[in-house]
């Protein structure tokens, strides 16, 4: 497959995963606005901005500490994370970037995939924060999440399992590892700076990963932060756990057709091996989970660079001819 097309699909996967992840977080956060105490709402915003490694609009988080402002400023923050076009991490930017990549590689997608994605894009194009805030912002985020799930389903049902499929999934899995490692790190960081973190802050994390029932079954109804982290990192049965995302990543890379350089492909596989070892073995040693998550994230960036150099932008002078 043409390198540039593969790269477009890879980024399509990454951007959609990003937009969905943020929508899931915002859905839980806007639900919390209805009935949760201010400290918890404050925690939620710290976690959100922490995992994006982004500064909130000036002053908004300080004001939030006062009850009167919590709703008013949540509006500013939600707008910043949802519709702000200059914020490259906003939901709008993610969907727009995914759609722009899809437009470049539309001939590699099934017609159904394009229609599905283009409709989501047209819907979000026509909305502003006022439109969604008036009634139920959490419904907007739930719909966005569902649309991206639908895209994944349509993709699974209609896309030819060629290399394009591999690179689309490769992008999704890498992004998922990056998002999860950043989010768990941000969760611990936010928990460290917030006084009286309630159990709800950890329950919401479980809900985000569709893991509440699994947690109850595996552990107990008592929510223990350490056990929550263990489950989200190491349980390979959980769709978005770190362990499972890494397994998928490894499988996608192994299934990708021969690369121009066997050496580079081997380096990528070894790197994934190191990442899996961090999650599956080092994690159990229970040393500092934040430094471990940060190492994982740094490896993820290296892996991205390796994939790019190996498949998309390799030097042509010594490349093999097929």
């Amino acid at each position: 497959m043409l390198s540039r097309s593969a790269e477009g699909l890879y980024w399509l996967g990454r951007y959609l995963e990003r937009a969905q992840h943020l929508s899931r977080l915002l859905r839980i956060q806007t639900e919390a606005l209805v009935d949760r105490p201010v400290t918890e709402i404050h925690f939620g915003w710290l976690r959100l901005y922490g995992c994006l490694n982004r500064q909130p609009p000036v002053g908004s988080l300080e004001l939030l500490a006062q009850d009167d402002y919590s709703l008013a400023d949540s509006y500013t923050l939600a707008d910043d994370l949802t519709f702000e076009p200059t914020n490259p991490d906003s939901v709008w930017s993610g969907v727009a970037a995914a759609r722009e990549n899809a437009r470049h590689v539309r001939h590699c997608l099934s017609a159904e995939m394009w229609t599905c994605l283009n409709r989501s894009y047209l819907r979000i194009q026509g909305l502003t924060i006022q439109d969604i805030w008036a009634s139920s912002p959490e419904r907007f985020y739930a719909e966005t999440v569902a649309e991206i799930d639908t895209f994944a389903g349509v993709t699974a049902a209609t896309m030819y399992r060629d290399e394009g499929w591999r690179f689309l999934n490769l992008g999704r899995s890498i992004e998922r590892v990056q998002l999860s490692s950043a989010l768990l790190d941000a969760q611990i960081a936010a928990a460290n700076v917030t006084q009286d973190v309630s159990e709800a802050a950890w329950t919401s994390l479980l809900r985000l990963y569709h893991a509440l029932e699994a947690y109850d079954r595996t552990f107990s109804l008592q929510v223990e932060p350490r056990q929550v982290l263990d489950l989200l990192a190491t349980d390979a049965r959980l769709p978005d756990s770190l362990s499972r995302s890494l397994d998928m990543l490894s499988a996608e890379l192994a299934a990708t057709a021969p690369s121009p350089s066997q050496q580079a492909a081997g380096a990528a596989q070894r790197l994934i091996g190191r990442m899996s070892a961090l999650v599956n073995f080092a994690w159990l040693d229970r040393d500092d989970p934040r430094s471990l998550l940060q190492r994982l994230n740094a490896h993820g960036r290296e892996l991205h660079d390796l994939v790019t150099e190996t498949y998309f932008q390799y030097p042509v002078h010594d490349a093999p001819v097929r």
């Binding site: 437009r103 057709a257 042509v316």
Partner: protein, 477 residues
């Protein structure tokens, strides 16, 4: 819906109605359907058609337009209908014309007999900026310089005429197919009962044509569609065609030439390319040969082409044959190369490079359309009767300064077809662009991109200037 107020004009050919006000035989099905369908239902159909364009993202770009970088092309839901007999005549005429044009190209880059024999003045050919000196002595595979041609046809009370031959990178075929898909889905019963000829095999025909033109000895040629990129106005079409024919969609940066062979960069290494269906202009093909400042081009691709290692469709240099001055000589070419009478007429054309033509043009400016030889897309032209005296005077100055850059033609009363405008059925001026493919034989799918000037009274059908599209139905008999 009521058609009593549908306006007829004796000077303008109406596609649906005869001069006496009764519908033409091949339009009776559509006429009846329009009469029987309520205004509300027609509005629904129009919404469906427009909606399907929007959700499919069928867009184009207008150059120099800062806002809204993608626009959905306006589409009118009412089909234009041609009878099978009308089409057969057009088909014969288009085939004849493209054969002559391909012979002309082989000739002007070869022995130039047509110039030697005094049929076309030498300066019309050599003075044309689209004449590529680099192509002299080149022999295109199977004599096919133009593999894909989009001919603009108009109809007046005198019959069909060729307005323009587009022999470089003609576009619009994706709209032909998209219009059909959308309109067919909305007029289901009418479509079935009308017995319309299929056009959906266009992709297969294009693929066959490109395969036939592959370099000698390639058994399973690798084909790539070369696009300037996503910012090009016709990107949707490039993508669409790559998908239809199962080709890679490449940009210049995806290709490289090594030792006279063209390769594309794939995830598994470099892969040889045998046929390039190029949708970039000559100027941007190869910075070594054409424009040095081009960032889009592939250095060395012309060398590979001349060695016969890759086929470019269309060949570089074909612009000399669709130049607005050379156009005037196409009927002579048909007589010269084929010893046949032209089947489809040209529009009467006055070349300002000739003293007679210049004088006539300047004396009759208020009745003429004056066009710049190098421009296309409806840019840079003067429509005499619609211009103010001051505009005409200013334009005349430009013509006098560089007469060779201008040609003039009478203002044509383009035929009109029924369109749905603000909930009413009104006539609007239309043209059509069928696509003629030339490989080992000439093939035309029975359809065309039909363009319509949606503004009342306007004669300009270009999508960059308020034009839209509509489906064209060619009936079986």
């Amino acid at each position: 819906m009521d058609l009593d107020n549908y306006e007829l004009d004796a000077d303008v050919y109406d596609e649906m109605f005869q001069a006496n006000g009764s519908p033409r035989a091949h339009y009776q099905g559509v006429h009846r359907a329009l009469t029987d369908t309520s205004a509300a239902d027609l509005a629904d159909i129009q919404d469906q058609v427009t909606g399907s364009f929007s959700s499919e993202g069928i867009s184009f770009k207008v150059y120099g337009d800062e806002e809204g970088d993608e626009r959905i092309i306006p589409v009118d839901c009412l089909p234009r209908v041609l009878s099978g007999g009308e089409w057969r005549e057009l088909e014969a005429g288009l085939t004849q014309r493209l054969m002559a044009l391909n012979l002309f190209l082989a000739d002007v880059y070869g022995a130039a007999r047509i110039v030697e024999d005094g049929v076309i003045p030498v300066d019309v050919v050599r003075g044309c900026p689209q004449y590529r000196i680099e192509m002299r002595g080149f022999q295109a595979p199977h004599g096919v310089w133009v593999a894909i041609c989009g001919t603009d046809l108009v109809r007046t009370n005198e019959g069909f005429k060729v307005l323009e031959d587009n022999l470089r990178v003609p576009s619009g075929v994706a709209y032909m197919l998209a219009n059909r898909k959308a309109v067919k889905a909305s007029f289901r019963r009418l479509y079935r009962s009308s017995r319309v000829q299929d056009i959906e095999h266009y992709g297969r025909v294009l693929l066959t044509t490109l395969q036939e033109l592959a370099p000698e000895g390639t058994s399973d040629p690798a084909i790539a569609v070369l696009t300037p990129g996503v910012y090009n106005s016709a990107f949707y079409e490039h993508m669409f065609l790559a998908r239809e024919i199962g080709a890679e969609l490449v940009e210049g940066r995806d290709l490289l030439v090594d030792d006279g062979v063209v390769y594309m960069r794939t995830t598994a290494g470099l892969r040889r390319v045998d046929v390039v269906y190029r949708r970039v202009d000559d100027d941007f093909l190869d910075p070594v040969v054409f424009r040095e400042d081009s960032l889009l081009g592939i250095p060395g691709i012309m060398h590979a082409y001349k060695q016969g290692n890759v086929t470019l469709a269309n060949a570089p240099g074909t612009g000399v044959a669709d130049d607005k001055s050379v156009y005037a000589y196409v009927p002579d070419m048909i007589r010269y190369y084929l010893a046949e009478k032209p089947i489809i007429a040209n529009v009467e054309t006055y070349l300002c490079r000739n003293p007679d033509g210049l004088e006539y043009t300047l004396d009759n400016l208020q009745n003429l359309v004056v066009k710049r030889v190098g421009e296309s897309g409806g840019y840079g032209m003067l429509i005499g009767p619609h211009a103010s005296p001051a505009e005409r005077a200013a334009y005349a100055e430009q013509v006098r300064a560089n007469p060779a850059d201008f040609i003039s033609q009478p203002v044509l009363a383009l035929s009109r077809a029924p369109c749905l405008i603000d909930g009413r059925i009104e006539p609007r001026h239309v043209d059509l662009r069928p696509f003629v493919l030339s490989g080992l034989e000439t093939r035309i799918v029975p359809g065309a991109f039909c363009r319509v000037a949606l503004r009342r009274g306007s004669l300009v059908v270009n999508s960059s200037q308020g034009g839209g599209g509509k489906d064209l139905w060619v009936l079986e008999n």
